[in-house]
């Protein structure tokens, strides 16, 4: 590009070459710069195929949406009595809700449970792109925040302050009112954890980037993944539910063994 802009000036100064030369050089320059641009743009397209907004995927997404979602969310995402408007929810919300199987909803209930995912990855992506194409909203997070290699100690602290009151300090989940609940966080992909914080699905509040920066979110994901992947040093964790599980285990297994042994000790030998 640089060269192409300089060369024509040189031509004008010296005037030693034929007029055709300048024309051909311009043509060559345009070709080079255009090719380079095409190369660059196509390489970025390769980098995140999942987030490509091509007309084809949007159209596929629209078809999928009309077939599977429009009954409740409306043909133009305007919502209905059975489902909220999806204008401006962004691709992150769609990826979370559909990608974890929560949507399509299996029944009107206090909360949508996790269930087997109903669509392929491409279809989920198409749906997300379609919804995002109607109105802008939070988009699917970038990979650099999902590597779970941040600061676990900081993440755990942020988790205790922001998340533990519903999800339990060990991420084991907890009860909310009227049959709603905060699910356990084990086995959730980093992308979905990030999207949940970003979009606040179901009864969860939104933790936007001003509230928890992408770096904070990365640390929280790190802490959760550390806890999930580290071996339980103290032996079987008993569901990581705390003293209730421990007490239940003691009364059933511990006292059971002890009572069986007292019976054995006092049994009369025949």
């Amino acid at each position: 590009m640089f060269r192409t802009s300089r060369k024509p000036r040189a031509v004008r100064k010296t005037g030693r070459r034929s007029p055709l030369a300048s024309v051909s050089l311009i043509a060559l320059g345009l070709l080079l710069s255009g090719g380079a641009y095409a190369l660059v743009s196509s390489s970025t397209a390769v980098a995140d195929t999942s987030a490509t907004t091509t007309q084809a995927t949007v159209e596929e997404g629209e078809k999928l949406f009309q077939a599977n979602c429009a009954t409740c969310h409306g043909l133009d995402l305007e919502g209905s009595d059975d489902g909220p408007s999806l204008v401006g929810v962004g691709s992150a919300a769609v990826d979370f809700q559909v990608g974890t199987g929560r949507m399509p909803l299996q029944a009107q209930a206090p909360q949508a449970p996790v269930k087997p995912v109903q669509f392929t990855e491409d279809q989920v992506n198409a749906l997300a792109q379609y919804v995002a194409s109607i109105a802008p909203g939070p988009s699917i997070p970038e990979d650099q925040y999902l590597d779970a290699e941040g600061d676990a100690a900081r993440g755990a602290e942020l988790f205790r302050v922001n998340c533990a009151m519903c999800h339990n300090v060990a991420g084991a989940g907890g009860a909310l009112t009227e049959g709603k609940y905060a699910p356990a966080l084990t086995g959730v992909t980093p992308t979905h954890i990030y999207e949940a914080m970003l979009t606040g699905p179901q009864n969860m509040p939104v933790f936007n980037d001003a509230n928890l920066t992408p770096e904070d979110k990365r640390d929280i994901i790190t802490a959760l993944k550390f806890q999930e992947n580290s071996t339980s040093v103290g032996g079987h964790p008993l569901g990581a539910l705390g003293p209730v599980a421990e007490g239940l285990f003691l009364w059933i297994a511990g006292m059971g063994i002890i009572v069986a042994l007292t019976v054995w000790i006092t049994a009369r030998s025949n």
Partner: protein
């Protein structure tokens, strides 16, 4: 048992001495007069029944707690000084926490055997309180608390409360998020007491919660005062066991005057000694394979985060449950003071429950007017009203206990939290009455069945056709040993209202008589000797086949 005589050394040929053992025993006895003690204790007889070992389990787990606790004191720092954790647990590295939390993490991750010791200590503590609970149930349902053992019931009950206090103070020491939440609840309960609450709270915490003093203070209580009290009461408890001698279930040859069983030396000492190691082993196995109180998951205490699913250890659960079950909006301001009845009602109900359970032996003694000594245990069915009261009390306790995990019940059984709470409120209030009536009816039905078996024998399953074509089932008589168990129990009758020396019937008398009627109105009289003989005579008459096999 008599191995000492078998290995007699050759040196003791000329003198008829017992060898080294005898010489050593003699040496000791001449200086300590211990033979009298050995004679007394060695011949002490313990009856054999599995439920008689539950108190021993509590004693042994306490010994395990003392041993493992001593190890922990070597490394634990009871200080709330702020430090930055720098141990080997990565997710807490550099996090600000108290020295107590940091040293507990060090015990868990950096001191060899530390985590095992912590887990042994905690599992043993849970087992300690649980075995006390089971032991108390045994005592209650068999009527072992009756004269002369009423005071020992009270001593045991104090031990139960001390054990809970030990547990709670220990639970709070690591200064982790979970125990800190628990302390905050206790602080709230204390502050809910009118007039004095705030003062007591500030005295306890050395200022506003959480302050910097509470861990040190709880530590002193946990390792100094409370263990000393527990030991003192255990000693008292055991002295009384020796003084009163052990109770026994009724059976042939067992009377109010004797104890039938094995002597301490050598049988019971060996059994009990071995059993200590068995209990120790079970605790170590639990501690090796199952995590308890993973404080590294909870993180250091900070008053702002409160975790979902926060619960206390099981023995404090009933108190936590009471707080969860009390309906909202019971707080109001009167005389410029806040009256937190949502705290005071649970406190009062629990206090009443504990006091009633503690003085139950005296209540029952007063109602029955029974001044005799009882060394033979009741079968629970033969004391129907007491068993029913016990079942009611347990239902009340269990409802409160379950309420401490109301949120976990809700999430794991996919129920609404409100539904769980309302169901448990019903269990706590109506449940005891339902349990009372069902248990009483079951007891009476079982007594009826016993009476039927004694009088008419049990169904043998042998069908006989009489010459006239009639079919009857042959009933077999139970043997005398079994019959003894079924018929030898006291038959209480409701007290008669009698005027006292001055010819008056007092209000107390009336109350007592009506309570006594409540206790004993519904009863199945045990079959009398006459009835048994008559029924057997009758059986002989009906007997068709001459199948008099004596069995």
């Amino acid at each position: 048992m008599s191995t000492s005589t078998a290995t007699r050394p050759e040196t003791a040929v000329e003198k008829k001495s017992g060898g080294f053992t005898a010489a050593a025993s003699n040496y000791l006895d001449e200086r300590t007069s211990i033979s009298a003690v050995v004679k007394e204790f060695g011949r002490k007889v313990f009856p054999d029944h599995w439920s008689f070992l539950l108190g021993e389990v509590a004693l042994y787990s306490f010994v395990v707690i003392l041993l493992s606790g001593t190890f922990l004191t070597f490394f634990f720092q009871a200080s709330m000084a702020e430090v930055h954790y720098d141990g080997s647990y990565v997710p807490l590295k550099g996090v600000e926490m108290s020295a107590a939390m940091a040293s507990t993490l060090d015990i868990s991750f950096d001191i060899r055997g530390g985590l095992l010791m912590r887990q042994i200590h905690h599992w043993a503590a849970l087992l300690f309180v649980a075995s006390i609970g089971l032991h108390m149930m045994r005592i209650f349902f068999t009527g072992a608390f009756r004269k002369p053992r009423e005071l020992n019931w009270v001593i045991g009950f104090v031990l139960f409360i001390l054990a809970m206090a030990e547990g709670f103070t220990g639970y709070s020491l690591p200064d982790d998020l979970l125990s800190g939440n628990g302390l905050r609840i206790i602080d709230g309960m204390i502050k809910g007491i009118p007039l004095v609450g705030t003062w007591i709270s500030f005295l306890l915490f050395g200022g506003e919660f959480p302050g910097t003093a509470i861990v040190g203070r709880l530590y002193t209580l946990h390792i100094l005062l409370l263990p000393a009290l527990v030991l003192l009461f255990i000693a008292l408890h055991l002295v009384f066991v020796v003084v009163h001698k052990h109770t026994q279930f009724s059976g042939p040859g067992k009377t109010q005057q004797n104890v039938v069983g094995y002597p301490v030396l050598p049988v019971y000492a060996a059994k009990a000694g071995g059993f200590f190691f068995i209990v120790f082993g079970v605790i170590v196995l639990l501690a090796s394979f199952f995590t308890i109180n993973p404080i590294w998951n909870y993180g250091p205490y900070d008053p702002s985060p409160v975790s979902a699913g926060t619960q206390p250890d099981w023995y404090i659960g009933f108190a936590d449950g009471a707080l969860r079950l009390v309906p909202p909006h019971l707080e109001f301001v009167l005389f410029e003071r806040t009256w937190s009845f949502n705290i005071l009602i649970p406190l009062g109900a629990l206090g009443l429950f504990i006091v009633l359970a503690m003085i139950y032996p005296f209540i029952e003694a007063w109602v029955t007017g029974d001044k005799r000594e009882h060394h033979i245990l009741d079968r629970p069915r033969n004391a129907a009203t007491r068993t029913a009261i016990g079942a009611a009390g347990l239902t009340f306790y269990a409802g409160l206990w379950a309420a401490a995990s109301s949120d976990i019940i809700a999430t794991h059984f996919k129920l609404t939290m409100e539904g769980v709470i309302h169901a448990l409120q019903f269990v706590v209030i109506a449940g005891p009455f339902i349990a009372y009536f069902i248990t009483k009816r079951i007891c009476l039905a079982l007594q009826k069945k016993d009476r039927e078996i004694v009088l008419h024998g049990y169904e043998s399953g042998r069908i006989i056709r009489l010459p006239g074509g009639e079919y009857i089932e042959k009933h077999e008589q139970i043997d005398d040993y079994q019959r003894w168990k079924l018929v030898s129990y006291h038959d209480y009758k409701p007290l008669m209202i009698r005027p006292n020396a001055r010819g008056k019937i007092t209000v107390g008398q009336r109350a007592r008589a009506s309570l006594s009627r409540w206790f004993f109105e519904d009863r199945i009289a045990p079959p009398t000797r006459g009835e048994i003989e008559a029924s057997h005579h009758h059986e002989d008459h009906v007997e068709i086949e001459s199948s008099h096999q004596n069995h």
